[in-house]
């Protein structure tokens, strides 16, 4: 056989294998589409200058992924596995004060295979969260411009969550809604505590004039957050909202506030889907996660999204 013939045969084998797998699972053939974070001089400012807060966010990253993997593998039915084992694993990881964010695909390998599209949506929104903290902590002279640029970069993604306000109350009234918080109140309150930390630090960070003041300003919030981890606030009836905990940040950057609140609501929806027996199979859970993400959360659905509200409606605990 000629060399070119051998090459063509090799290419044909690769193409055949690819087509075989594509046809075998065409319903699950989806692109990876990982995108690098917005590159700027302020990247990793939080990690380098306010590691005390950064390490807590690294712990939060573990918590979400570890919850989803355990909900999936236990069918959302095993209370001790979630409330005791998984939650304590998360608390133990947080207690290590991790200097780097964990590899979430190593924490939740099954969930990542089930719902990569949703995970990539989380990853991009979490990168936006991180960017806003980095900007707040950095010595970037024009923070408004930096936030405008990073928000524009985020909104340019096909995985961007809508920056419009969504009706969270309606998004919490699906047939399976509240399943997670009813069955696993401790872990739910722990998740809401993460979300408290993520949004409560914005106003103090922005108000403090320098790094020393910022470090001092976030300490009371960190103390409250750690108290919540010890004694999860099970009395809360709804997730924390940015406008309630950082009103100045929400007023100045309403699109960011909406994105983060929508992100946190999507976390609650997916927790409910993974818990509820109304969606008994992994395939049914995957289909519902993708339906919710595609129909109600991605900015690409803004023109037809029935959950977008035109006037702000406050939520209260």
């Amino acid at each position: 056989m000629t060399r070119s013939g051998t090459l063509i045969r090799g290419m044909a084998i690769v193409a055949t294998v690819t087509v075989y797998f594509a046809l075998a699972g065409c319903g699950q053939f989806e692109p990876r589409d990982k995108r690098f974070y917005y590159r700027a001089l302020w990247n990793f400012s939080l990690r380098e200058d306010l590691a005390e807060l950064d390490s807590e966010f690294n712990g939060v990253d573990f918590g979400h992924s570890n919850l989803y993997e355990n909900l999936l593998l236990t069918g959302g039915q095993d209370v001790p596995a979630i409330e005791d084992r998984a939650r304590k694993e998360t608390l133990a990881f947080i207690a290590t004060k991790p200097r780097l964010n964990p590899n979430e695909e190593a924490i939740a390998p099954t969930y990542m295979k089930l719902a990569w599209r949703a995970q990539n949506t989380f990853d991009e929104a979490h990168a936006l969260h991180r960017a806003t903290y980095d900007i707040a902590v950095s010595d970037e002279p024009d923070k408004d411009r930096a936030i405008h640029n990073v928000l524009a970069y985020y909104k340019d993604s096909a995985y961007a969550i809508t920056s419009k306000p969504l009706d969270h109350r309606r998004l919490d009234r699906f047939s399976y809604s509240t399943a997670f918080r009813q069955r696993f109140p401790l872990f739910n309150a722990t998740i809401w505590s993460y979300h408290y930390l993520q949004v409560a630090v914005y106003d103090p960070l922005q108000a403090a004039p320098d790094l020393a003041a910022k470090t001092q300003a976030v300490r009371p919030i960190l103390a409250t957050y750690r108290r919540y981890l010890d004694q999860p606030p099970v009395q809360w009836t709804f997730m924390p909202l940015t406008a309630e905990l950082s009103p100045q940040f929400a007023a100045r950057y309403p699109e960011l506030a909406h994105i983060f609140d929508n992100l946190h609501m999507l976390h609650d929806n997916i927790s409910d889907i993974l818990t509820s027996e109304r969606l008994p199979t992994w395939e049914a859970k995957r289909a519902e996660i993708y339906r919710v993400v595609n129909t109600y959360y991605l900015a690409t659905a803004d023109a037809t999204n029935p959950m977008i509200i035109t006037s702000e409606q406050g939520h209260h605990h």
């Binding site: 090459l7 690769v14 989806e30 692109p31 990881f93």
Partner: protein, 261 residues
């Protein structure tokens, strides 16, 4: 292990320690690229927009013949969605003795395209196309290589299969006009649930010899990738070839660093 081999190991350790002192300027330690630190890769490209600078030093203490040391500078760029392009130019300490496609100083250009992410049914799949331009010592003709890559996970353990074919543009003397290569590898993140900085990798490979009439090089490698900082990954690997021609590797070793930004 020969005296030359020991010298090479000592030199590599010194070079690696110097690397530790570099300022924080790397890539996800769980994204596996060829030679970082062993000759296998996973099916994923680096994220769109990321730039990676990778460098390594590899020694090959052969059963017969002189120990070879290779310097492996490389730039990789996430040029498009699910696509990385690579520019590399290996430099060998004994360039005139090299046979096969990869000559010292050749300019190596590659593209890796990832078709899909892994799902509950499908493995992740990718294809790599590479060309070696004859810019190096004793190099003639443009060599081309096509590799298919599959990655499938089982819990935290990931299995990687690489199968490639290299076509020499202008084979010299007894050089084969084309050679195949097959690798089966596994990777596993160490430290769960308390630490996520290290990935262990092991592979079994076989590749056709560069010269006609000789047996396949068949060996094993093991390596570790360590996330040092948000941007820097260190790697180190060892291997040996238990079948092959008389000049096959008795001990292979690699130390490297990757910087992503």
């Amino acid at each position: 292990m020969s005296t030359a081999g020991l010298r090479a190991v000592r030199w590599l350790l010194r070079a690696w320690l110097v690397g530790l002192a570099l300022p924080a300027l790397a890539l996800d330690h769980d994204n596996l690229d060829p030679n970082r630190p062993i000759g296998m890769e996973d099916a994923y490209a680096i994220p769109k927009g990321e730039i990676g600078l990778e460098g390594g030093v590899r020694f090959n203490d052969r059963r017969q013949g002189r120990t070879n040391v290779t310097f492996q500078p490389q730039i990789i760029y996430g040029a498009f969605a699910n696509t990385q392009i690579e520019i590399q130019g290996d430099l060998f300490t004994d360039p005139h003795s090299i046979v096969g496609a990869n000559k010292s100083g050749d300019l190596h250009l590659g593209v890796l395209y990832n078709f899909n992410t892994e799902t509950l049914i499908l493995p992740a799949m990718a294809v790599r196309v590479e060309v070696d331009l004859p810019t190096g010592v004793n190099s003639k003709g443009v060599d081309t290589q096509l590799t298919g890559i599959l990655t499938r996970s089982f819990g935290r353990l990931r299995l990687h299969l690489n199968g490639g074919y290299t076509l020499l543009g202008s084979p010299q003397g007894q050089e084969r006009p084309g050679t195949y290569r097959a690798v089966a590898a596994v990777s596993y993140p160490l430290g769960y649930p308390s630490s996520f900085r290290d990935t262990l990798i092991a592979s079994l490979y076989t590749r056709q010899s560069d010269l006609q009439g000789q047996r396949n090089h068949t060996g094993v490698e093991i390596g570790l990738r360590h996330q040092l900082t948000s941007r820097v990954v260190l790697d180190g690997g060892l291997g040996t070839e238990f079948l092959g021609p008389s000049g096959r590797a008795a001990l292979l070793g690699t130390l490297g660093v990757s910087v992503g930004f």
